[in-house]
Symmetry: D2
Subunit: 315 residues, 4 copies
C-alpha cells in the first residue's frame, strides 16, 4: 500500500524529482505520475507510440518539444489537425507569434489585423505569407503525381524545410508519418481548392491514408497512445489501433470531461469498454491544461528513459 | 437597464415561458436566453444558418431534433463528424442504443460486447450490421461515378433511407448539404478503404467539398452559425463563413473552456478577433451540456419563430 | 432495458414533458431526469429534506424560487452562506441587482461604484443601505438576549421582513431553520464585530447551532439532500445527516468536478464511501450551471408532486 | 513585445528553469509564470501575505509544503476550513492516508470502513482516534478560559504538537494566525458541541476572530493573497483585506470557472470590480488542479526569492 507523503521543497529541485514527489501528493498529481509510468512502460516494452495533439498546441511553444520527441525517436506516428501543420510551416519560415492575454478588446485587435488564439496573438500578414509559401510547394508536388495521401504530402513538405524545431522537418528526416484526416480544415484546404480549380485531376486521397495508418502498425505489435487534448486526432489514432487489435497502453492529457459523452472527454476508463485499453494499470488520464501537464509528464519520462539508456540524447 | 427578477414556478409552465424567465435570473441562464434571441434574429434576418454538432449528439436522442430542424427549414447546411452519420444510418435501419450509466465496470461491458459512450451503451453487433448495410451502398454509388465529394455521397445515402427522424433522410429531401471534412475518421473510413483496395480508381474528393461549402453561401448573404460542442465541425463552418466575408450571427453551446486556447473552447468573444463575429449583440456563448441547453434554446426559438409565422409546423 | 428516443419538439411543450423526454436523450439530460425522480421519491417517502445553496444563487433570481419551495413545504431545513442571506434582506427592502455581462471593463465598473458578480452588477450603495438596515435589528435582538445561535438570529430577522419572495420571511413563517455555519464571512460579520466592540458580552454561538442542526432530524427519520453548488453549505448538511445515520437520498447539482478531491466536486458516487448515500438508485449528480438545471429539475418534480397531491399549490 | 518560444528539454532541467520556459509556451503555462512573478513581487514589496486553501489540500501531501512556507516566513496569515486542520492534527499524531484511485466500488469501500476523498482513502478508525486526541485538548483549553476565538484555539492546539510538517505546529511556532470562519463544519464541530453540553458557558467566539483578521493587517500595509481553490477561505481573506483598503496583489489557483458567478470561480479580473485588486499586472489566475500548479508556482517563486536573499532556507 502506498501512502500520501508530505511534500517539501529542496532548493534546486529538478523536474524529475518533483514529478516523483507528485506521485505521493494527491488528486491530479498522482495521475500525472501514473502517466509518466505508463509512458516509460510503453517505451520499454517496445510499443509503437502514436502521439496526437490539436492545432493550438503547435501555436504554443510545445511545437519545438514535439519536434524533439520525433528526433529522440520517442514516437512512431503523429495524428493531428491541419492548422498546427500550417503554423509549423509558418514558424519554420520565421513567423513569430505574440504572447498576449485572454482579456483583450477583440474588436480592437481585429482592427489592428491581429487574431487571438487564447492568450496568443497572430498577425493576419502571417497567414498571407503562408499563401506565398505554400502555393509553389503544391505546384512542385503536383508535377510528381496528381494523387496524394495527406501523409505523403506532408512528408514532401518536410523536405522543403530546414528547422530543427519543426515537426514536419523532423518527421520527414526520421521517417515518422504525420496523419491528418481533415486536411482541408484550414487555410491549406483553401489553397488546395484554388489549385484544383486549375488542375481538376489533382486529388487528395484521404482513403489511401486510412490504409497508411492501418499499415503503420501490425496486429502483433504492441501499441501505445499519448493523446493531448481531444478532437479527431485522438479519435483517429484510437480507431486505427482498435482495428489492429487494440491499444496496450494509453495516456490521455486533456481538459475535456467525460460527462458529456464526447470522445475528447473520454477517459482511459471508458476506453476499456471499446476493447481499446486492455488493462487498467497501463493507462492514465490527467485532467489539466496540456501546456503545463505535458512538459512535466514528458520530461520526467525522458529523464527516466535516458537513465535506462533507452532514449539517447546526443546533444 | 434590466434587473434580476425573482423566479417563481407556476403550474403547467411551458418551456418558452421558462426560458424567458431565465433571462432575468443570472449567470448561464441569462446567456441561454441571449442565445434564443440571437437565433431568432438570425432567422428573421434571412441569414444562411450553419448547424454544427459532434457525433456523440447523434448517439443521443438529439438526432431526431436535428432532423426536425432540417424539415422545418430552420438550417441551411450541416457540418459534422462521420461517427454521427454512421449512427444516423444505423438508427434509420432500426438499431437501438441503450441508456446506461457513467459508472460501470468497463472491462465487464467489453466482455459482453458492449461499447460505452458516456452513459449510453452500444452493442458491437450494431457496428457489424452497419458493415452489411453500407457496403452495397458504396458499390451502387461507385457505379454512378468513381469520384465523390463527401457531401455528394451523403446526399446519395439519404436517398436510400426512409425515416422521418433521420438527419440524412431529411437533408436529402430538403436539399440541405451535409459537410463532413474528416469522412474517414470512423467505421466509414474502414469500409471506404476496403472498397478502394479492389477499386483503386475510387476516390473521395475532400478538396471538392471545400468548394461546395464555400459556394453554399455567398459573400453578400448574411450568415449565422449554431455550433454545438467543438471539434472540426465548429472550426470548418466558421472557416468557410470567414472566407465568405465573416459571420453575422453566432451561437455557441459547449462545455469546453476558452482557457486552453482551443477552437472547441473559443467563445463568441474570441471570434470577434478573427473578424468572424461583427457585433457583440448578435452572439452568445452558453456553457453547459448540449443535451440540456440545446433543447431549451431551440424550443424557445422555434416557439417565437412559429408565433411570428417564420417557421411553419404543419403537423 | 431503456433505450434512447429521438427527441422532437411539439409546439407549446411544457417543462415537465420536456424533462421527461430528456430522460431518453443522453448524457447530462438523463442525469437531470434521474434527479427529478430522486426528489419525487424522497418527498413521497416523507424524508426530511435539506436544501443547500451558495450565495451567488441568491444574487440571481433563484431567490424567489427558494422562498417558494419553503412556502410549498418542499424543504425542511436550509444550509447556506451568509452573503446570500444579506442579499435576501437587501432585496426584501427593495434593492435591485442589474443584469450585466461577463466581459466588462472591471476597473471602469469599480470607478462607477459597481461590483460585478459574474454577469450581474451590484451597486456599492446597496451595501451601504444594508448597514443602515441591519444595525437596528442587531440592537433589538441584543435586547432580548446576549447569546444567539445563527439559526435563531436569522429566525428573528425573518420576522422583520414582509416579502413573499424572501427566503428569510418564508423560513420564519413556515418554521424552516436556516443554518449558516460561517455567519461572519460577509458584511454581516463586520456589523456583528462593530456591535461586539461596544457590547463585549454579545456572542454568536456557532456551537449551539451544531446542536440545532443535529436535532433538526433524528436517527430514525429518512433524510434527503438537494445540494446546489458546493461550499460548506453542502458539506455541513451532509455532515449533520451523517451523524444522524446517513442520508437516504441525495441530489447534487454543481459545476465542480470530482477530479480535484474537493467536497464541492464530490459526486453522489463518492458519497457512498462516506456511508452517506445508501443506495445508487436514490442519488443523482447533474453537472451544469444551477441557474439552468435547478429550475428544470425542480419544476418537473413540483409538477409530479402536485399531480399526486403531495404538494399543494394554493395560488 | 514577447514572443512564443519553442520549448525543448535539456537533461536534468530544474523546476525553476522549466517554469521560466513555460512563460514562453502559451495558454495556462503563461499564466502560471505570471503567478510566479506576482508572488515574487508581493514578497519583495513587503506585502502581508494571506494564504488560503481548502481541506482536501491538507488531505493531500501539500500539508508539509504549507508548513514549510510558514517556517520560511513566506506567509503571514492562513485562512482555511476546519477539515484540513483536523487532518493536520491526525497526521501530526501519525495517521497515514492511502493513495487509492478515483474509480473504486464505493459501497465496497464503505463496507471496509474506508472513506474516499478523490483518489485518496482514509480509514474510519483515523477519525475515531481523532476523537480521543481532541477531547483532552478541549478540556485543557477550557480550564484557561471559557470563550475562545477560533484562531486562539488553534494557536493553543499547535503548542501540543511536535511535527515539522504540521501546519498548526509551524503556525504557533512562527506566530502565524490561522483563521477558520466555519470552525464547526467538521468532526471538530461535533466534539465542541459534546463538550458544550456539559459546559454550557463554553463559547467559540467567531465574531472576535473577525476583529482578529481585521487587525492582522492595517490599512496602510501592502497586502497580497495566494488563494488555492475557492470556498469561504478565499472569500474571507479577500473580505478582510477589502475592509482594510483592498489587496495590492492576488494570485488565484483554482479549477473553478467564472461562468457561474461563484466566488470560488471568480478570477482576478472580477476582483478588480470589487476594488480588491488595484492593477492588472499584479494579479494572476491559473486554471488547473492545485496539486500540480501550486508546487510549480511556489517552488519557482522560492528559488527566485532565495537567490535574491529574501527567503532564507537554513537547511
Amino acid at each position: 500500500m502506498k501512502f500520501v507523503k508530505d511534500f517539501t521543497w529542496k532548493p534546486g529541485m529538478n523536474v524529475n524529482t518533483l514529478v516523483g514527489n507528485m506521485g505521493n501528493i494527491g488528486f491530479q498529481s498522482i495521475e500525472l505520475n501514473n502517466a509518466v509510468e505508463s509512458i516509460v512502460k510503453m517505451k520499454k516494452d517496445g510499443a509503437k507510440i502514436y502521439l496526437t495533439f490539436t492545432s493550438n498546441m503547435v501555436t504554443s511553444g510545445l511545437r519545438g518539444f514535439f519536434a524533439q520527441l520525433i528526433k529522440l525517436n520517442m514516437v512512431d506516428a503523429i495524428v493531428t489537425t491541419v492548422g498546427g501543420l500550417e503554423e509549423d510551416i509558418m514558424k519554420a519560415h520565421g513567423e513569430e507569434f505574440i504572447i498576449g492575454n485572454f482579456a483583450t478588446d477583440d474588436i480592437e485587435l481585429n482592427e489592428k489585423g491581429i487574431n487571438r488564439v487564447g492568450n496568443l496573438f497572430i498577425k493576419n500578414e502571417s497567414y498571407s505569407r503562408f499563401e506565398d509559401l505554400i502555393n509553389p510547394i503544391i505546384k512542385d508536388i503536383y508535377k510528381k503525381k496528381n494523387r496524394w495521401a495527406p501523409s505523403e504530402l506532408f512528408n514532401e513538405i518536410g523536405k522543403t524545410l530546414n528547422d530543427e524545431n519543426s515537426i514536419l522537418y523532423q518527421a520527414t528526416k526520421n521517417k515518422v508519418p504525420i496523419f491528418c484526416p481533415a486536411i482541408t480544415d484550414g487555410a491549406f484546404g483553401f489553397h488546395l481548392f484554388m489549385f484544383q480549380q486549375n488542375n481538376p485531376d489533382f486529388v487528395i486521397d484521404v482513403v489511401k491514408d486510412f490504409q497508411n495508418i492501418l499499415l503503420s502498425t501490425s496486429h502483433d505489435e504492441k501499441k501505445g497512445i499519448i493523446s493531448l487534448g481531444g478532437s479527431i486526432s485522438k479519435h483517429h489514432a484510437i480507431l486505427a489501433c482498435l482495428l489492429n487489435g487494440g491499444l496496450d497502453y494509453a495516456v490521455y492529457l486533456t481538459t475535456a470531461r467525460h460527462t458529456s459523452g464526447s470522445m475528447s472527454g473520454a477517459t482511459t476508463d471508458e476506453a476499456k469498454s471499446w476493447g481499446k485499453i486492455k488493462d487498467a494499470s497501463d493507462a492514465a488520464t490527467v485532467i489539466g491544461d496540456v501546456s503545463i501537464t505535458f512538459p512535466l509528464v514528458m520530461i520526467s519520462a525522458l529523464e527516466k528513459l535516458t537513465e535506462q539508456g533507452i532514449i539517447k540524447n546526443d546533444e
